[in-house]
Symmetry: C2
Amino acid sequence: MDAVNQALATLSLKPKVVEHVPADSPAAWRDALATTAAPEPFQLLKTLVYKPKTAKTATTVPVVVLAPEAIQPSSSAIGKKLNLKDLRLASDDLLQDFFSADKDSLSPFALNAANFGKVVTVVDSSIATSSSFFGLHALSSKSTAFLTGKEVYAYLKSLESDETKLQELDLTELAAAPAAPAKSVPKEKEDGRIEGAVKIAVGYKKEVDFPNWYTNVLIKSDMLDYYSVSGCYILKPWSFSIWETIQRWFDDQIKELGVQNSYFPMFISAKVLEREKDHIEGFSPEVAWVTRAGQSELEEHIAIRPTSETSMYPYYSKWIKSHRDLPLKLNQWNSVVRWEFKNPQPFLRTREFLWQEGHTAFLTKQEADVEVRQILDLYRQVYEDLLAVPVIPGVKSEKEKFAGGDYTTTVEGFIATTGRGIQAATSHHLGQNFSRPEMFNIAVEDPNDPENQKKIHVYQNSWGLSTRAIGVMVMVHGDNQGLVLPPRVASIQVVIIPCGITAKSSDETRATINNACDELAKTLKKSGIRAKADLRDLYTPGYKFNDWEQKGVPLRLEIGPKDLEKKQSLGVRRDTGAKAPVELENIGATVSELLATIQKEMYTKARDTFHDRLKVVTEWKNLVPTLDDKCVAVLPWCEAEACEDDIKDRSANEKADEAQDERAPSAGAKSLAIPFDQSRWPAIEPGKTKCPACGKDAKRWTMFGRSY
Amino acid sequence: MDAVNQALATLSLKPKVVEHVPADSPAAWRDALATTAAPEPFQLLKTLVYKPKTAKTATTVPVVVLAPEAIQPSSSAIGKKLNLKDLRLASDDLLQDFFSADKDSLSPFALNAANFGKVVTVVDSSIATSSSFFGLHALSSKSTAFLTGKEVYAYLKSLESDETKLQELDLTELAAAPAAPAKSVPKEKEDGRIEGAVKIAVGYKKEVDFPNWYTNVLIKSDMLDYYSVSGCYILKPWSFSIWETIQRWFDDQIKELGVQNSYFPMFISAKVLEREKDHIEGFSPEVAWVTRAGQSELEEHIAIRPTSETSMYPYYSKWIKSHRDLPLKLNQWNSVVRWEFKNPQPFLRTREFLWQEGHTAFLTKQEADVEVRQILDLYRQVYEDLLAVPVIPGVKSEKEKFAGGDYTTTVEGFIATTGRGIQAATSHHLGQNFSRPEMFNIAVEDPNDPENQKKIHVYQNSWGLSTRAIGVMVMVHGDNQGLVLPPRVASIQVVIIPCGITAKSSDETRATINNACDELAKTLKKSGIRAKADLRDLYTPGYKFNDWEQKGVPLRLEIGPKDLEKKQSLGVRRDTGAKAPVELENIGATVSELLATIQKEMYTKARDTFHDRLKVVTEWKNLVPTLDDKCVAVLPWCEAEACEDDIKDRSANEKADEAQDERAPSAGAKSLAIPFDQSRWPAIEPGKTKCPACGKDAKRWTMFGRSY
């Protein structure tokens, strides 16, 4: 509200401000205002932000369009008028970056002296002279301020500088002029935004505007908020509790394997960090450096860990003096920092992220090899059993492996909507690359040859799983109603909502229904089910349905007077929308079973989708069309690094237009994994089966795809 | 070993290096070498490091003295010769800082071209010409290299530069000369170091050299290691597991109170951080700043959070829009950074530390007040019930409260050995200081007066508990054998050690005993006891006793052939050393009970000590003597801030010589807490009871003391 008050202070205005239920569409906004003390009559003020197409290196200058709600501005006409190419509705990321607001709280109040010069502001000419009231979001989806058109106009004019002037356009006239672009696109395709429908809560369609759908699901489900440092995000309890579930499960498992938790400092001195050249080469462009403490410049600059190999291994060298000190198996749950300059994406690519990193050392390669796969299988279980996300375990190509390691195993996930692969978690065998004498020199005397003082340099693994897992889960299961949570990780598995209470219902009926909901929640909790009764008054059942659907709660139980009579409740599955009565008798067992079914079916559905999209490609010409069909290509591959480079280049050049997914880091195909289970495909015949990219002998079936 | 190899490479030497059990005294070192292929005869080379007394602002130049083991160098004579004042054995901190080694691994190999110029190196003149072998720690307490005296000398000479030369002294002659200082001190008092006794593992006496005792206990118990970034430490599993126990218990408790976990980024932009002036004033000299990422200078410098108020509250303002959004109760388990320039001390004062920080917001002050005390009581339970450390709950004086808050409640601990108080954990009521309009403006409409749109700014609390708790526990319970762990937080509660096996024992006897130990461990685990059988061969029972005593395991069970015959085991309590047979029958229950008794008695003993040291002081003249007696003074105090300043100044000036505890941050008395329970002392009579410091009317009994 600060910004709003500041804005008003510049004009000494005291407009009426009303609070209401949050509104995420114009229709919902109007509805929300209906029960408030809003001045009558009023129009809503639309605030639309467009991003023109610009070269990657150029600064983005968004276009802010302000219009009365009845006017449908034509983005192409505005673009033509302003000589800007391809105006597209801006992403929430951009709104946050420029205005620190989301689309549901944006209004002229988000414009101020600091950002006015960085945008182009267009106002419909009808506003300038209007004395009637306009409703403007008071920088919140839950409150609205009312100003006259003249007041809005005066405020905008007050922001003008010599360099930047307000653009006044007659948007109605402009929209009526013949459409310019030859390459016309259906409106829905253009922005993917879902107008006016309260029921469809997310505001963007998953299949049309995936990036905006994704960030909207995260915000609307209350998983995440944007943060004032770019590329960093706040993990709210709704997502953090999922991480806690993963942590507790995985932590118990690795402790069974004899892994112990520890904590190494987040700082690494420049000298130490730069010790492993191959390893650090991969990270150095992204390392955040502390150079100052208080008012003092530090003598030596200190890195914030991008990963902890170089932080930990000097001490492994110190601690491991005898084969009796082996194996050493340490893990830590921490955050690491990689200052990415690419477009950040919540959970998937963030400047700070949470993970666990395990670092183990063994006397023999065999032991290390076994552990690499044990851990990878735990990662598979985290994805498949907890998050209901199918993954394919395999090994990375030489090009894609962890820099400084011997080989990298991976569980690869798949985002069906974009047809892209995603690295879900990795378990690396480092061999002796870090333990060798000229590196960290981690060695013991050979216990089988103590006389000759022969040294064995230890064999090491490192393995990590990050909060990326949560993003993958959202992308795989979410739908146009919002998040869909698998029961095992949902902090609320069942929400119970009182229904059938109307204004005419007696207090007694109301109390009976509410008590029944409360009792049911208690009963379910006794069966170990995470249940909650939503007894908030002032909210309608419909509002609550929508609220909990957005948040992805796996099962909703509705209880009304008639349900009580029949000793039942109406159950609604979040994943399928299927409705069926559930007997109150023995309901703990019934619901437990139902949750298990939901968990299993969510997994099965996603797995079938993934497997259906694995397409064998044995001729080059089929590769790009396969990718364009949002599939993963499985090639009998030669495994040569040069061939991989070539595949990436050639597939990028041949690619179809994919501009709609701006945040895709690369459109060329890279190898995702060489699956351990090769039996899914016909046996490769040595000397006969050829690599479709280079024609050389194929070695193993390898998944290639576009990826995150 | 890197450093050793580098050192040898400069002289192209290939000395014999042998590995052995770790040695922490010259006697143990000799013993350890007895069974190795060491060349005969040999002498051990002593490497002693002294710190001269220097002005606080001057750079410390340590003195390294190298002598054959038979020579007892006189530090005062060396000091006189070199014109340096008050040579004292250096702390482990200093050894780490200068040589990256501890006293048990230090040797001439720790000297190199980089640090030679920063120290004064003294070598006994007998070494220069000796052709006989000297044993030198190969920078590890577990391995020894053998060089001739000439080779050692040649190595040292190779490090000389134009500025820095090797000092050759006849240390025998020097020591024989009449001792210089008039103010002679008993040898033990001088350095507190315990020579030659393997049984006394820690190497320093707690009551004589507390700072070195403390760091040694931490290292020897395997809780902690020093780290290459000064002021940061590695938490090894032996200490981290204690933190995990605290975390799990406290986390369960706060979740019962409706607190949810979340994660906010570690970064705070300069602009945001500097928003709350009072608050940030306390932290700004210690804030670590990120100014560079990869090769790019950042436009805006970014702080690493010293605490998260300013990181979180802008979002509280955004999220809290209605009284229905209250209370908001979030917590995070994270690390924070305060770049202290004072002497760091593991767990107590470190540049990065782990903690939890809870941040809550309420509609009314009453609700907030209640929570402040609920949380404080949980902190009391963490200390008293888990760590067996007594604390006194109370409120901080205005001077000592959290900057920016309304009032601070605290649980205060006490370190009897130094007589100092220590702030154990704090729970703050922030009032509306952060929520007020000109700050973060966190407000809702008054639900009792919706018509007038009256705003209520929320009432906030913040509360934190850090890994400092582990340090306090070590200081309170540890003894001259090492760490003493309370059973509830010990990751191993019972260690079972096979005894009575000699070289003559048959393999069968050996197997029988080992199996019995193994079975016993399984039996105990079934009773929920964290038990471990130590079946390592090559180690004697005596070595194992010592090892687990150092690590503080609460109960040792010994099993030998005779015990088995009698169907019993010998139990030895770590806290008291008491020995008693324990019947094997029904041992799970017996041991559970015994552990509960140990837990209780450890607490009771520490509590009685603390309470015995609380001394009522009603006359000024008794204050400093009370502090010098290592007690806490309880004053009927006026609570005026000026009076507190005065007490601090006057008590510091009158203080007795306390030079032995170099790391004491302040020797003046400050207020520790105003205890909630005032009934322990006679009622203060309004207008009659006077403050002994200023003579004004006393308000409440207040604890004053020296403190950490």
